[in-house]
Amino acid sequence: MSREYLKKAIAEDDKEKLIRYVRLHFGDGNEQAGTDEIDKAWIEALKRLIDFPPTNRKFIFDAIEQQSEETLAHLFFHLHFYFVQKSGDWIHDGNL
């Protein structure tokens, strides 16, 4: 099963299998689309910081300090999709 496949890849430190899985998830089964989506999310995050806007660093530190690593990992995936959506270029309409 796929989770077992992933756990085996983690145990073997098979980074290529792991990142490929992430790309496939982000690209709805299309690996290249997933790669592009990762780039898109990071670019969107970068664009929002380029002019030194005020940010709530206390919130960030509190979250990192108070929330579990699992919750933060989950948040990481949420933030990916959040910034992809903010880009205005939403590919997740099931048509890939």
Binding site: S2, V22, G29, H92
Partner: protein
Amino acid sequence: METSESNQPSDETRDNSEIPSSSEKQLRPGLWDVVNERYPGSMIHNDDFVSMATLDKPLGECRLGFVSTSGVQSIGSMPFDVVHPVGDYTFRRVPSDTPADQLEIHQLKYPTDGANRDVNVVYPIERLREIAAAGVVGELTGNLYSFIGYNMDPRHLERTLAEDIADAFEEEQADVVLAAPA
């Protein structure tokens, strides 16, 4: 649902010709190659089949349940977790008298354009009410059910989500359940 865990070839080396099917015919040859290419190791392999159940009373006297992989849920309920890399193994109860315009879809992996215009194309709640009113079935269960199809551990799905939904239908005293993929 029974699943054999023995003698399973690895996901990458599985010979798809081993996979039996109803009528012993694979209707979409090559499908599993595509799925395994896109979602490595995601396919479950069942060696055992559940025998076909028979109704013990006329359909017109049966309480009908419905379950769908469409990710349809009542507005205001906790959205399905469409971002989780391994999937969401929860389900939502949708009261069977819910107005169609009080439903929404949380799902990324199938085209929802049509369903957003008319949810009945994936979650035929109004059609089901119509056939119940017409006496085709006796009545609907109090709740209909929904989950999302992006679940990358089918065995976990089988042993948790599927069992939970089966238990829920038993509580609902369903005589028959219609299951529909999205």
